[in-house]
């Protein structure tokens, strides 16, 4: 029971490491961006897990409820999600541009083309 309270954080770390692994071990650029997104989402879950209060309800004020979950992390993550999509869009645009310039989205092939110039 003592350790069960940390289950959320451990899953978060697992997801984070899965994303990290994709980013550093795969050479395909689209896959790398998916990995970055995995990493990012795991951070969101970390924040939202911390904001939960046992027996609390969603932070919308209403008669008859006294305990609310912490609204501050919700606000921060709301901002982070939208910014995350903006950066994803920018990253994917870079991938498309690299494809136009090099004809491939595999990192090692791009390196080979650079060396042969």
């Amino acid at each position: 029971m003592q350790w069960l309270g940390l289950y959320n954080y451990w899953i978060v770390i697992f997801l984070m490491m899965a994303g990290f692994y994709v980013v550093i071990s795969r050479s395909n650029l689209v896959k790398k961006i998916v990995g970055l997104n995995l990493f990012q989402t795991s951070v969101f879950i970390l924040y939202i897990s911390m904001s939960k209060v046992q027996g609390g309800t969603a932070p919308i004020l209403k008669e008859g409820f006294a305990v609310y979950s912490n609204p501050l992390p919700h606000v921060l993550i709301l901002t982070a999600i939208v910014v995350g999509v903006a950066t994803t869009a920018l990253g994917l645009a870079l991938v498309v541009r690299i494809k136009e310039a090099y004809g491939t989205v595999e990192e090692d092939e791009i390196h080979n083309k650079d060396e042969s110039l």
Partner: protein, 176 residues
Amino acid sequence: MLLSFLATTAIAVVVLRDLFAVVMLFGIYSLLTASIFLVLDAVDVAFTEAAVGAGISTVLMLATLALTARTEKKPRQWSPLPLVVVMITGATLIYGTLDMPRYGDPSAAIHQHVAPRYINESPHETGIPNIVTSVLASYRGYDTLGEVAVIFTAGVGVMVLLGAGTRSRKKKGEKS
């Protein structure tokens, strides 16, 4: 629990080589995340994640796949180094969580300082029942302004990257 589904989906995303399947699984992953947010009382975050994460991100990634390659190439040789790095980092982080407050603990440090003030004072100060909205638009309005600046910059960046070429690429503009 939903979190276990999430972990399974993440493993599939790591293992699969068909990028179309990876993007679709990532959509499912985002939707699962949204349901977890709902369970954790974060309703505003849940519908933003469902619309933006599962919707717009997936569409953007599919558009990119249509313009690039559908499948990932096989790597030349498998190297154990990334796995070792990931294991060490993960172990360090898990060691770090041992000091964290337990899930749902009302006496955790983050529930003591700013949040009670928002919960108690925001109905009188702003008159909006949804605390997340009043914090987002009123107390932290400058944050939101900065966020708009970031999105604008990203939009301009996408347009410059894709629109400056000689070919007209109208498939993927900024949608944020």
